[in-house]
Amino acid sequence: MQVYSLFELNEYVRRILALNLPEAIWIECEVAQSNESRGHYFLSLVQKDGEQIVAQSEAVIWSKTYRKLKKQLGLSIRALLQAGVAIRLKARVDYNERYGLKLVIEEIDPAHTLGQLELQKRATLQKLQEKGLIGKNKEVVLPKVLQKIAVISSERAAGLQDFLNQVTSNPYQYYYDLQIFPASMQGDLVVKEVLQQLKKIRKSSKQYDCVVIIRGGGAKLDLNAFDQYELSEAIANYAYPVLVGIGHETDESILDRVVHTSLKTPTAVAEFIINRTLHFESEVMQMAYFIQQKTQQTFQMALLRIYQLEKQFQLGTQQIIDSQKQQIHLAEKQIPQWAKFQMTSAQQQLKEWEKQLDLLSVENTLARGYHLVLKDGMLIDSVKEVKEGDQIETQFKDGRVSSTVNDIKNKS
């Protein structure tokens, strides 16, 4: 019976592995755990069949490789190394006689993870749709003015300070009551902490106009948490309208589909809030303007009516004048007739008077036995007009007598 030392065995295993797996190979698995130490990343990789783990291996990304991968993948790498992420990686199977089997990761294919996430996302979306949760938060009435705002964000998030500055120092001097509810915006704790804060806000005695969830830019994979069913469900059913700006330009997360209003960045959320207030105020001012105009109009109309009444009154006066004029006109026509009539009657009167005058005429007087005394052809009616020796004539009805005055006696 041949007996080997443990080292001999392990060395044998190492040789077999090195011989059969001389180069790095691509593996698909799930990240179960990930720890960083001095720039090296130590991962626990698993494969599950349902909830059952059917395979498990330890893996490492040496700091040198990590730096290379970070350069290549950018911020996505942190998201890729989160627990629960399906990952495709290229690893060399390393076996150490003392430390056993370890996968040394050389490359990561983010497309696979994204693809997996996309599949997950679709499944989540479908579930949300089936439960009628898509667009549910949209039905919550968004107040015309968002003034009391609960902000869920990480105090370390890049976008938070920008958001706060922009909102508080708006050019219109609008006042906003912002209360921050801190929660992780990346990493494993996002879902848990955001859910906690949502609960806290709802239980608060203070009424809010809306909830805002914001964070600055981040890797696409970092948004994974915002595609989780649990969080999406809570937000869809939330009592307050939820606004998000989680800093992504292209891809829509599920969160965007379940919230009331989704905006690209925290800055865009700030703008939205300020513009909404501005819109409200301008509407109020428009109404104020309308009321002012209409009031002025109404008063003008009233004045106009008074003016019209005045005019009607004037017209009435005019009518009186006109009728007077007509009367005058009529009179004008009538006057000649009247005059003619008057003339005729006057003529008659004249004839009457002539008749009477006729009775008083000299001839008739003389005929009745009176006579006239004349001196130098002129009628005289006083003794004072004659003196002794004057020649006078006496007119009778049938002739004249000349005589000389020889005695004058005054009536005493």
Binding site: Q147, Y175, F280, M285, T298
Partner: protein, 58 residues
Amino acid sequence: MNYEKAYQELQDIVQELQNGQIGIDDLSTKIKRAAELIQFCKEKLRNSETELQQLFDE
């Protein structure tokens, strides 16, 4: 009073004016009310609750 109520009341006044339902005698009462509502909105938009409280206490 809140924004929504103030807005609604203003809109009602606008509506009444539009329909010519306000007689000249009621007009000044309505205008006074409208001015109050507008004032309320403009002040609330720019002041915190505590400041507002002070404003209305005066």
